[in-house]
Amino acid sequence: MNQNVILQIAGLYKRFGDFTALHSIDLKVHDGEFLAIVGPSGSGKTTLIRLFVGMDEPTDGTIWLRGQRIDTVPANQRPTCMVFQSLALFPHMTVGQNIEFPLKIRGMKPAERTARALELLDLLRLPRSYHGKRIHQCSGGERQRVALARALAFDPEILFFDEPLSALDYRLRKTLEKELKDLHARTGKTFVYITHSLEEAMAMSDRIAIMRAGKFEQIAPADDIYNRPVSRFVAEFMGEVNLFPLTVEESGAASAGSFTLPPRATARFGLVAGDPATLMVRPEYIGFVGAGTETEPDLSVRGRVLNEFNLGSRFQYEIEAEDGQRLTVETQRDERFGGAIGDTVTLGWAIDHCHVIRGE
């Protein structure tokens, strides 16, 4: 992927009366990338996307598209397009008329328009016969594809997506995630996708930007966000996690309550006495230590099994450590815990799988 910046924002502010929806945010979107903006509801992601496409105006700050200021350009003159959560397909037009609509507005001749619409139907793998269909005759997945075709019709610089999959059922959502990722690869367009679903963002995007209370918390590739979150918020937002507050002592060892981090580990993380820090381990890296385990794990904790949850592809356990801290552990199906609820067990994991979040 080339690293040309296609969209850049600087110092973007948005206030609604007394409420500040966006607090001076900066962002660079690379040409051709699939960027997901993820955040809980109310974090400002919808406000941000509405500023991008020009449906709202920023209170302060600048938006550049390929080096040109666009925050003062009206929505209908921006070379960007948005796929709405409701899809916003025009119910009084056929599939073909919907797809051709932006071309008609730009004054393209009917014959050319139709040819382009048919190409787009091919691109989205919809039968060409759909050109004359009514919107209400299409299924949910088909409507999604029509909306995509319409958004691509006038060859916009960037496509914005406002949670278009959130209203669909699980299976269809999974299928469309794959198709969307595939469409991104085939068209080479820049996609900016907002969602509250971590799963959706992880499945499709090159980079993820996490939003919280009108600011970006972290912007990084999906793996980094998952394994090396910069804050407790990101760690907890990106799925199940075990967090242990650390107290680093003069000796170099760090106490995490029910276990102690040896000095070589604290040295590796660059921690010195008095640093506030939290140790993070994802549940899938923790295993049960039994008689059959060949090597001693780097870190271990004893605790009691409180509950087992069947997640389908995995099993999840809730464990109470001796100091009362609750841990979440996940195993593959073939590594299912053999004992009973209430059993005392030893859990172990490797230092390599730990990550330290600095700060309070």
């Binding site: 209908n76 397009c81 959560q85 025009f90 009084h92 507005i105 730009r106």
Partner: protein, 268 residues
Amino acid sequence: MNPTRLTRAGLLAYGILTLAFLYLPLVAVGFASVSKSRYLSFPIRRYDTGWYAEALASDTVRDLLLISLKVAGIVTVVSMVVGFFGALAFARYHWRFRGLFQKLILLPIFFPQTVLGLALLMWFNAVDIVPSWHTAVVAHLVWISPIATLIIAIRAYSFDPTLEEAARDMGCSTLQILREITIPLLMPGVVSAGLFAFLLSWGNFPLSLFTTGADSTLPEWLYAKMVSGYSPLVPTVGILTVAGSAALLAVALIAPSIVRMWRRTPQA
């Protein structure tokens, strides 16, 4: 919890009785219109359609019909246009005085129509306008265009504003959005508002009473005859105006399916 069959049957009977109650007086007028005798008395002894022939041949009735048609026609067109934009301001856009606007629109509907007609008469007098059927158009509009607005507003409420946003995002100007999206989608509401406007204007009497000047509409003439003594033409002309409304409604109800059939044929 769910109503029993007996309750259902009772409520259905109640509904049918209500309809009968609403239409009973028209039945009486209908019978009276085909009574041969000059002085009406039930039960009717001899039936005759002579009064219809007389009414249809009458120049007075033709003039009244023409004026009623002109008034209703103009009221329909104007209230459709004003009501369309009014409904957008009422239901679609969030603007500063929307709440106030919504309430202002309701006031004329609540207002006693006779008093409104008199107030208009004084207003026309104060600005030196001689009342004629033109001023009656204005009087009808005061009451009918708010109703048209409400009817279109119901449609505008169920209209998804992201459709307009999407159109703008794809490059539409405000006027293009209006032409391509808003008008086609609100059209059913506008058409039914027009229908209401025509029929309400056609049948309105209290607003016309003081505002037509020397001209007269059908309902006005009927009222004048009713209070000044019985004329055998009253039930006849009354039934004719009702028949006119009914015919228009029938056309309005059947037209959409004819249009649909006609549209389908060339494609097949």
